[in-house]
Symmetry: C2
Subunit: 263 residues, 2 copies
């Protein structure tokens, strides 16, 4: 058993890893989506391996800034977000965050807070991305603004469950979003219609903050919270730029999002 | 198309998510491995969905500290690390890190450094974990020490490739490991036999640091580097405790490791 095991490892690790880099940034980016009607099995398995590895790299923040998903992963990302994998991952994050939220011992001074991002964290823009290639199309600010202004983004159910749990536990809720101040009203209406209530602060980008990197903008806002004496216990976001930087939370919860990247 | 899309989303997001939490920490932890000889297809798909989601949560640092992998994921983790998925993920991280390393503009003062963890980053302990349940068995310090003292851990090939690239580019290499100072000699021998050379510092835990959390120990060591004027450009590690904390690197690279967790 031992000899067999070591043989397997040696064969795995002495394999010459291919020198051909498959750089997704060099791939063509078609503006018209084409979903191949069928993969043959071997091709499908290769694509699945490649795209799963790409997704791991994206979700662990290993990728360089990227603007669109790799063309060959169009089907993969679609299947992921439309199938059970995405919702299973969302449920898991919600459960883990809920376990942690329940375990925190409050000091009773009302200064324990939970920070939530909004898009792809509390509200889902999947209806928009269904019509825009699940991340295969280059992001179109004006088209996306039109979607936001409709105010009909549905709640991400496991996040709503976590949200309610965190409110019930007595945390103060700070919503910290990259959306702009001019979208405050529609964002409030959308959140309420989707079932979110009782937040303490809703922080949006002011006009002079529109061109700041998200990591910096969100760090500055968290710095202010800490300066005001708040303890950031939890932070839920689908982007690493929601979670990393200064004044990081005691525990961060990274929701899945293989469709887009915000630096 | 639009109506169809919205219908799909609504049905996905209005599904009542199950209240049954499946807490892996409450599962039995057998000391004898039993790999079911066959899953029926539906059962196998469910397990795959559950374990993929567990792996996503582990790799994104969403899980509470865990001591063993979930019992029902024993086969899944074994298949992952022994099959092509693990090596594909390792290659991807190596390639992304290499692209970034090449893009950094050096100041020419010899103060640009790259930090590498050792275990499951440069050297693989898979031969040990093959004989110890791939993370299903509770970690046994004395057994693992015996393995380390043999000094035969193989190189992780894509990491060796990155290492050589980073050396060639002119970075100073700092190896920062949780291994103890008494393992210095065997670690040096093991690294050299596995093909690693030309590092500038090898930092191991001194006796008074043995019980520090890894995040704190590694942060303190990085703080010292920064104090000495070094710029930590890249940091490669398989644990978030290698990467998070103070004096974080310009870019971090998280290698996959679904077998164990170090806080």
């Amino acid at each position: 058993m031992k000899i067999c095991g070591i043989f397997l490892v040696v064969s795995l690790f002495s394999t010459a890893f291919s020198d051909e880099t498959s750089d997704p940034y060099l791939l063509p980016k078609p503006s018209i989506l084409q979903y191949p009607s069928e993969h043959n099995k071997v091709g499908g398995e290769e694509v699945n391996l490649y795209c799963t590895s790409w997704r791991f790299a994206a979700e662990t923040n290993n990728l360089a800034p990227w603007s669109t998903i790799p063309a060959e992963c169009a089907d993969y990302v679609k299947d992921y977000v439309m199938g059970r994998s995405y919702s299973t991952d969302l449920e898991r994050v919600s459960e883990e965050a809920s376990i942690f939220a329940s375990s925190v011992e409050f000091s009773g001074d009302g200064k324990d807070i939970w920070v939530f991002d909004i898009d792809e964290t509390l509200l889902s823009n999947l209806p928009y991305y269904i019509d825009h290639g699940f991340g295969l199309e280059l992001f179109d600010h004006s088209e996306f603004d039109k979607w936001v202004e409709r105010g009909v983004a549905p709640a991400i159910a496991p996040s709503l469950k976590l949200y309610q749990r965190v409110v019930d536990l007595g945390y103060k809720i700070f919503l910290l979003t990259g959306r702009k101040e001019s979208h405050r009203l529609v964002t409030v209406e959308n959140l309420i219609n989707a079932g979110f209530q009782n937040w303490d602060k809703l922080i949006l980008r002011s006009p002079d903050e529109l061109h700041k990197m998200a990591t910096l903008y969100k760090s500055e806002k968290r710095d202010e919270m800490v300066k005001e004496g708040y303890r950031i216990r939890g932070n839920s976001g689908d982007q690493w730029s929601d979670l990393l930087g200064s004044s990081m939370s005691q525990r961060s919860f990274k929701l899945p999002n293989p469709m887009y990247y915000i630096p």
